[in-house]
């Protein structure tokens, strides 16, 4: 049916079935991919547009209802001739867009408000944005951007040599606030075939495929395990245990079984029941107890006892030391499967070009994807080109392959572009999760509150496949004693296969789970000895000069004590305010808690080099070739800032080529908080290399000042100015590589697992409704030793976003296969759940890092849950042993405690 309506102020017409969702029509038929789809169910708000001036989810509006009305999308926000509207500029200036996938929806929701009310209050802004989820920012900068539309003054570009430390606007920001940035589902060619994956409804089952011929006749292809040249993948070179398509056996609910390939409408119209699969369900193994049981069936045939890995760290004489402790605390803490819930579901497309396959998909790790696809397809790595799209959030979840193998296999065999976009339930069922952990901890100290001994055992549920399980099991023992100097340590980690979803990488690789345990122990010991909880931590904090449990002596940049010093005034003041509040009585009680953490930057005891290049073309284009993927955290901007100062030219003169494996060198994966430290160092070296070449050409000294004007490069050395004509000097290319120095860990976990560590301390103030069991976090103050903040706005963005995820981990997030597979049953924090988050940046320079920088991505999340749980204990006396602390669980704890005290 042909429909007429107004689109961004212009007459528009559209033809198609009127029941088509407005979001789909905008994106697929009208070419406006600025409107994003995160769930197709009204839950995420990424698709928010204005309909007759009111915000609606365009995924819930039938095109039939649009007829004769006015639709406004992000593409229409700026007036003709305007680069960006004031609201968009405010988003840029405040750093309100990180990955940018929620940004169009946020902007449109905000637009409904600011059009009526240009100076809204915080509550009005929250009410207006309450229906749009953001997983990256923690909302603070978005709220500020909307409140200050009028006030915001454009941020100025820093001159040459002053980019590092400046709050420059993210280089990819304009594309994000205008809806021009292309994510995994945004650039799919019109002639692409589509895949729909048939997934297992069972957590554990054998199956047989029936006659697929009738389906094959209807479709372009029906792919099964037999169609994948090498049907196994996995993070580790020696563990390729996960099939692209299951082969007669499924090990978790949501595992891919059959891929239907054909015209989009055709594959979408086929229901799962039309695909002949005979299921023979078996009793699934859930949880580590079931996996460890003597008679437990195996999840992986070659893994006796369902054990993936075990290992630990031993130092001193832990058992003897406990004997001499004046106080000992112990407890067991459990966490759930947690979903990354990036707002962009996995998506991408592939095409075959001659004997090469080209993959355009959302990812965190182009080079690993390249090598893995080559392995799966039995091709040479050079035959695979990965062209990463913009990534709408990753948090570790897009380190594993998702759509890539199926689109590659299909495009390769069919010779046509093939696309796959996960639905939200599919994304949640198929993708990896945070490892559920059971952490048993015992900590002891002397009468003065000096920690003497700790014993931690962490059991992890790694789900059906190994994924990043070994990384978690290795990293946790190194961190499980917390950021404290403890002479006698035993830490141990074991990971078990179950029929849960594969647990993989998620911001912190198991360390957040362990931190819940060690911080609870510190609180208990402090309380027992009557020492202030902050001072107790200060007394035990690892400092430069201390030796860690792995035997590594920290020579520099161990700023935990400084973080605690920075928190102290806030801590003391809050204590007074809380005491005054609680003295008034009533069912609401407030509390304050503190969490500390340390985090090794980069891979654990493994080489993880980055290589970067900076080129200067004969035409005078200065380009950073960066394989470091920006998944919203801001590495595109940071690499440019670092490289600019290393070369000595302004950041604003840089062009950026990023991610494409044909055009950039391997800068490793965006994980382990490593990009600023490792790739940043490589960018610095590359910039320095280019500068050296220039200085040599100009025969100038190290302090010479460069300026670039078109193809003319001027080098001013003292009073002398030399010019280089780039057209004749030819292309120049600087290159830099950095691999952080580490050593392997021995059987007792002794060695140098990381070249440097980030440190942090956060405090949380909460209000508990003791009758309902609900927790409202009132305030977070986060002090982070980042070495050096290359871009403070981006660092704050990472902290605030990490805190928001930590809050979710503590209070609401629990993935239950088959039960919380969407964004209304699986809850992540909304704008109304996140308090104001104050960031205190501590810069204890790391000599190895670029300008002294370390990392911030994961450290931001780790201390939050412990701080919140400590605050809940302070408010109620309930020690929380299981997260998420859903209202009914806290209520139970409060009731039990009352029972005891009566």
């Amino acid at each position: 049916m042909k429909l007429e309506f107004t689109l961004n102020g212009n007459a528009a017409s559209w033809d198609g079935p009127p029941v088509t969702r407005l979001a789909a029509a905008l994106r697929d038929d009208l070419g406006l991919t600025g409107t994003k789809i995160g769930c197709d169910a009204g839950d995420c708000g990424a698709c928010t547009v204005l309909l007759d001036g009111r915000q609606v989810c365009s995924c819930l509006v039938a095109m039939g209802q649009v007829s004769g009305r006015s639709v406004e999308t992000v593409e229409g926000l700026s007036a003709d001739g305007e680069v960006v509207a004031a609201l968009q500029q405010s988003f840029l200036d405040h750093g309100a867009a990180q990955c940018g996938i929620c940004t169009p929806g946020m902007l449109m929701a905000a637009q409904e408000l600011v059009r009526r009310n240009s100076k809204p209050t915080r509550t009005e802004v929250e009410d207006s944005l309450g229906g749009v989820l953001c997983r990256c920012t923690g909302y603070g900068k978005i709220v500020d951007a909307v409140m200050d539309v009028v006030a915001s003054a454009p941020v100025t570009a820093p001159p040459a040599g002053e980019a590092v430390g400046a709050r420059i606007v993210r280089v990819d920001g304009p594309a994000k606030v205008t809806g021009r940035d292309l994510f995994g589902a945004d650039g799919i060619p019109g002639d692409a075939l589509w895949i729909r994956v048939v997934r297992s409804p069972h957590a554990r089952a054998r199956f047989e495929l029936g006659d697929l011929e009738p389906l094959r006749r209807r479709l372009a292809a029906v792919l099964t395990a037999a169609d994948v040249p090498f049907n196994g993948y996995g993070i580790y070179p020696d563990i390729k245990d996960q099939p692209v398509l299951a082969d007669g056996l499924v090990r978790y609910r949501g595992e891919a079984v059959v891929a239907l390939v054909g015209e989009r409408a055709e594959v979408m119209a086929i229901c799962d029941d039309e695909v002949p699969i005979a299921w023979m369900p078996e009793t699934p193994l859930f949880g580590v107890d079931a996996a460890m049981a003597d008679d437990a069936p195996l999840v992986q045939a070659d893994r006796p006892g369902n054990l993936l890995l075990k290992g630990g760290v031993k130092r001193g004489d832990m058992a003897a030391a406990f004997e001499g402790c004046a106080a000992v605390a112990e407890g067991t803490f459990e966490t759930a499967f947690v979903e990354h819930a990036y707002i962009e579901p996995e998506a991408g497309w592939a095409r075959r070009i001659g004997d090469r396959i080209e993959i355009h998909a959302t990812t965190q790790t182009p080079y690993m994807d390249r090598d893995e696809i080559a392995n799966l397809m039995r091709l040479k790595p050079e035959a695979v080109r990965i062209v990463p799209t913009a990534c709408g959030g990753g948090f570790g979840g897009k380190l594993d392959l998702s759509v890539q193998p199926l689109i590659a296999v299909a495009a390769w065999t069919l010779g046509r572009p093939v696309a796959l976009v996960y639905t939200r339930p599919e994304s949640m069922a198929a993708s990896t999760k945070r490892h559920p952990a059971r952490v048993r901890a015992r900590f002891g100290c002397d009468a003065h509150g000096k920690l003497l001994a700790c014993d931690v055992t962490a059991l992890f549920d790694t789900g059906a496949y190994a994924s990043w399980g070994p990384t978690v099991a290795n990293r946790v023992p190194v961190h499980a004693m917390g950021p404290y100097a403890i002479p006698n340590v035993r830490t141990w980690g074991e990971a078990f296969f179950t029929n849960g979803p594969p647990a993989g990488a998620f911001r912190g690789f198991g360390v957040p789970q362990a931190a819940i345990a060690h911080e609870a122990m510190l609180d208990e010991l402090a309380d027992r000895l009557g020492i202030d909880r902050l001072e107790f931590r200060h007394r035990n904090a690892l400092r430069a000069g201390d030796t860690t449990a792995t035997g590594q002596t920290l020579t520099h940049s161990a700023g935990l004590a400084q973080c605690l010093d920075a928190l102290r005034p806030h801590w003391r003041k809050a204590h007074e305010e809380i005491a005054a509040f609680n003295a008034t009585g009533g069912s609401r009680r407030r509390g304050i808690g503190i969490g500390c953490m340390w985090y090794g930057i980069g891979n654990t005891s493994m080489s993880n080099p980055s290589r970067m290049r900076v080129g200067l073309s004969p035409g005078g284009t200065l380009t950073l070739y960066s394989g470091a993927l920006d998944i919203g955290q801001g590495s595109n901007t940071i690499m440019v800032q670092i490289a600019a100062d290393a070369v000595g030219l302004p950041a604003s003169q840089f062009a950026l080529v990023t991610g494409d494996t044909d055009l950039t060198a391997d800068a490793g994966k965006t994980s382990a908080s490593r990009q600023t430290f490792v790739s940043g160092k490589a960018a610095e070296k590359a910039g320095q290399d280019l500068r050296q070449q220039i200085l040599r050409l100009a025969n100038a000294g190290p302090d010479a000042v460069l300026s670039l004007d078109g193809a003319t490069l001027s080098v001013r050395d003292g009073a002398e100015v030399r010019t280089i004509d780039l057209a004749t000097a030819g292309p120049l290319m600087g290159e830099g590589t950095f691999d952080p120095p580490t050593t392997p860990l021995d059987a007792d976990g002794q060695g140098v697992p990381y070249a440097t560590y980030a440190f942090a301390a956060q405090l949380a103030e909460v209000e508990v409704d003791t009758e309902l069991g609900t927790v409202k976090v009132l305030r977070i103050v986060a002090a982070h030793d980042v070495g050096r903040a290359i871009n403070p706005t981006l660092v704050e963005g990472q902290i605030q976003g990490g805190v928001a995820q930590g809050l979710g981990l503590a209070l609401m997030e629990e993935y239950l296969p088959g039960r919380t597979e969407n964004l209304h049953d699986y809850l992540i924090p909304t704008v109304g759940d996140i308090p104001e988050i104050e960031c205190l940046l501590i810069e204890d320079r790391e000599p190895l890092g670029p300008s002294g920088a370390k990392g911030i991505g994961e450290p931001a999340l780790v201390p939050t849950a412990p701080a919140i749980l400590g605050a809940v204990h302070h408010a109620t006396g309930v020690r929380v042993h299981r997260v998420p602390l859903l209202p009914h669980r806290l209520h139970e704890g409060i009731v039990a405690l009352k029972g005891k005290s009566q």
Binding site: P18, D40, G42, L60, Q65, H824, D825
Partner: protein, 276 residues
């Protein structure tokens, strides 16, 4: 691909219903139930029927048109009798959902956690149903019969909800408990309408949602409040025994025992709130 009808008049819509159609109003329950599937049913889109929309005052009370959205309700000028319903309207989803979702959609979808239902039960509202053969009215309490089950017959549409003008001055309030702020399915919610005469409760109507397959009125509590002084101590009259009509279950959002406990707390607070 099925048919898609978007009539402008009610007659046309009712005539179409000689054969089965899926009714589409705000779409906020319709589309989420169809993620990743192509929609092939025949659709009757009632959102364009002007007479089904909006709130009007009648001789006996108020008529709330079926496709009145939560946002329209929240912004409408209405007496304090409707405060509870308006508070509920502002707690449905987020702004986008309030701008699209309709009151009839909420009751027809018949979710145990529908936020509009306790408030509309406390208003003692009646559902007006129309078909080619005429119209009928039934109390909302009789209209919703179970989880996702209603008295709607083939060929019928909900055209409006009716609220009678109370004999006395009336106040009302609503409270919702969810595990996060905004966009959250209720763990429990409650709504109350109190008629006040000479500083005393002349009549009270109270309903609790998400604690039974269908939200329930609490007649014993209503009885217990009648005649009580209308002041902040009203909440103290709530007793656990008043919750007998509820039958909460365990689910991902909360345990049954928890629901019983918090229903009590919500009711006490609700009554203090309405009397404040």
């Amino acid at each position: 691909m099925g048919d898609y009808l978007r009539p402008r008049g009610l007659e046309e819509a009712l005539q179409a219903l000689t054969r089965p159609f899926t009714v589409l109003a705000g779409g906020t329950d319709f589309y989420p139930a169809r993620v990743g599937r192509s929609v092939t049913e025949d659709i009757l889109d009632i959102a364009g029927i002007a007479t089904l929309r909006g709130i009007s005052e009648t001789e006996s009370g108020w008529r709330l048109g079926a496709t009145t959205t939560w946002a329209e309700l929240g912004e409408a000028l209405l007496p304090p009798l409707f405060d509870g319903l308006k508070q509920a309207a502002r707690e449905v989803g987020g702004r986008q959902i309030q701008n699209a979702g309709t009151i009839a959609g909420n009751i027809c979808n018949a979710s145990p956690a529908a936020d509009g239902v306790p408030a509309l039960l406390a208003l003692d509202s009646e559902v007006e149903l129309a078909s080619r053969h005429g119209t009928r009215r039934i109390p909302l309490s009789a209209f919703i019969t179970g989880v996702r089950k209603t008295e709607l017959r083939p060929g019928e549409l909900v055209v409006a909800l009716h609220v009678l003008r109370p004999l006395n001055d009336a106040r009302s309030a609503f409270l919702k408990l969810g595990a996060r702020r905004y966009l959250v399915i209720s763990i429990a919610m409650a709504s109350v309408v109190v008629e006040v005469e000479n500083g005393k409760v002349a009549a009270a109507r109270i309903a609790v949602g998400a604690c039974s397959p269908v939200a329930q009125r609490l007649p014993d509590l209503e009885q217990a409040l009648t005649g009580a002084r209308f002041d902040a101590r009203l909440g103290e009259r709530v007793a656990a025994s008043h919750l007998a009509p509820l039958s909460p279950i365990d689910d991902v959002r909360g345990s049954a025992g928890y629901r019983s406990d918090v229903a009590l707390v919500l009711l006490r607070r609700l009554l203090s709130k309405v009397a404040a």
